[in-house]
Amino acid sequence: MEIRENLRLALEGLRANKMRALLTMLGIIIGIGSVIGILTVGNGLSGSITGQLSDLGANNIQVYLRGKGSAQEMMGLSVGAGSMEDGDLLSDEMFDALMARYPDEVASIAPIELAGSAQVKEGKLYANVSLYGVNASYIPTMNVELLAGRALRDKDIVGMRNVCVVSEKLVNNMFGGDIWAALGQEIQLYQKDSVFTYVIVGVSKYEASVMAGMMSTASEKDMSTELYLPITNAQRITGHTPGLHEMVIMSAVEGLDGRDVATHIENFLNRYYKNNDDFMVQAMSMESMMDMVSSVMGTLSIAISVIAGISLLVGGIGVMNILLVSVTERTREIGIRKALGATNGNIRFQFVTESVIICVVGGVLGILFGTGLGLLGSSLLGELCGPTLSSIFLAFGFSMAIGVFFGYYPANKAASLDPIDALRYE
């Protein structure tokens, strides 16, 4: 019965002093709100990254060369460590040997030759592209979705044909979005002083990438998209030796743990690099990349929680401060209550209830504020998601605990007032 009276009294107190209550709760609101908001955005971000990674093919393993230097090893730097000679690169022969050794584990091998960016032009129309030199395995391995036409074939690669697969977005820019009309069309690729003529044989689906959208300041129309051409052609453009590669995407056979397959690949290929002073092979499976993403997110969450903890501490001290003021203001009331028979416990309970109410109301406002923040932030990242139920309960419980913890000292001060002095207090 007493708790109901206390709750009513505390809520009425908040209503009577709205501004003061709001300022008192601000620390709690900001603390709880930022935790909920940032955790929500983090969930959205990690969901969207994991989604994108698995879209690229859940069985994929990236194989690349990295420097052997201890500093680079420690920092996990990948490509670009020192200058690579032909003797340092991965070769088709190594891949053949790998395939022969692990036929039941490695499903496909798709080397990539990045041939820089280029522009497709036709009169006033243009589209920016990145040139990806690939073999016939690449498009199925990377789950590139074709909307029309076909993927590149072995014949295209071996024959070094001038054919390419372009993205839907290029079709939008150049052919008014008609993917069927685009098939078989010739396009002119301009790169520095060179011009190449290619025939479109396939159109791939275009998906706006969250990361690219965040990194790039280019407008939607200028955004660069992938253009796939035979790797043999790409190597002619870059001037690299045919049959040697810096980066490869492989895929594990369905049902196997990518991490194990990646280890086998790494160990097998590194035998070729035993005597290489500068480079070694690293193979990273999609699983371990996702592990990395979630561990980064985990670290981020801990860091944010620490900051939020500090802000909640400050908020709690604010609540304690205002309660101390309130105890002084209401000294006479405390005296009257004691004269009417309230025990020290009754008085303590009344003020702790008040503190808990302030913190819980602040916590609820913070949860609402944080949910709004999270919805806004995650929708900007393209992956709308709300706070998890557990984080809401946690925030609620936490604000309650803050109320008890920081309310106890002022409440105890109120409880230990001498009734005679308190009654006489002006």
């Binding site: 009276e5 006479r332 009417l340 028979g341």
Partner: protein
């Protein structure tokens, strides 16, 4: 032979304002109040009236001496026990009313019953009856600052009666009222004393009011004298 509600023996109260300065306010008196008596204690300011009132109301303990209030020994009671004694055996009526702001008249009357653990429904009903007794049943929802002085004091009397206390302790109850409303308040005390047999201790410096009571005691320099 009537039952004695208050039995005070050799009451001494000293205050220690830092050693070695000790101040003796009450010097060892006896006081016996039988059940149903309307007693007045008169004294100039500084005579020790307030200290006596605090002792009578179980807000404080005597330094030495014994005090039995309705059969309960006060001098050795712990704080929690004193709270319970104040709650059930004493009804305070103060000069400046001492209603709690922000809660309405009815809730003020309910307070002592809340602290004595009475259920919500029962205490609301009892509080309404008490408000009717002091003819304030048309002001149940009023906040204290919406009431006149006389009305506040009537609410305070209803509150003092809440737990059917053994004594009502009234400290200058008419001191802040004009003579007409003061008269009204005194009439309520007389009614309570006559019709319900309440034991009432009235502390005042007004000799006219004291003259209306059954027995008058004067306090001078920390000692009590019968008139």
């Amino acid at each position: 032979m009537p039952n004695n509600i208050i039995q005070m023996r050799d009451i001494v109260k000293r205050f220690y304002i830092g050693k070695p300065n000790e101040l003796e306010i009450l010097h060892g008196f006896n006081l016996v109040v039988p059940q149903g008596e309307f007693l007045s204690i008169v004294g100039a300011s500084g005579s020790g009236k307030s200290t006596l009132m605090n002792l009578l109301g179980a807000l404080d303990r005597p330094t030495t001496g014994s005090y039995l209030l309705d059969g309960t020994a006060i001098e050795q009671a712990k704080d929690t026990e004193l709270s319970a004694i104040r709650c059930r055996k004493v009804g305070f009526v103060f000069q400046n009313f001492n209603l709690i702001p922000r809660i309405n008249a009815l809730k003020n009357v309910e307070l002592p019953m809340m602290y004595s653990g009475m259920g919500q429904r029962a205490r609301t009903q009892k509080a309404k009856e008490l408000m009717k007794l002091v003819e304030m049943d048309d002001r149940l929802d009023h906040q204290p600052n919406e009431l006149s002085g006389g009305q506040k004091q009537r609410v305070a009397i209803a509150r003092a009666m809440a737990n059917d206390p053994a004594i009502i302790l009234a400290d200058e109850p008419t001191g802040a009222l004009d003579s007409k409303t003061g008269r009204l308040v005194m009439d309520i005390f007389h009614t309570l004393n006559r019709e319900q047999g309440k034991t009432i201790v009235l502390i005042t410096h007004n000799r006219e009011l004291a003259a209306e009571t059954d027995r008058r005691i004067t306090m001078r320099d920390g000692m009590l004298y019968e008139q």
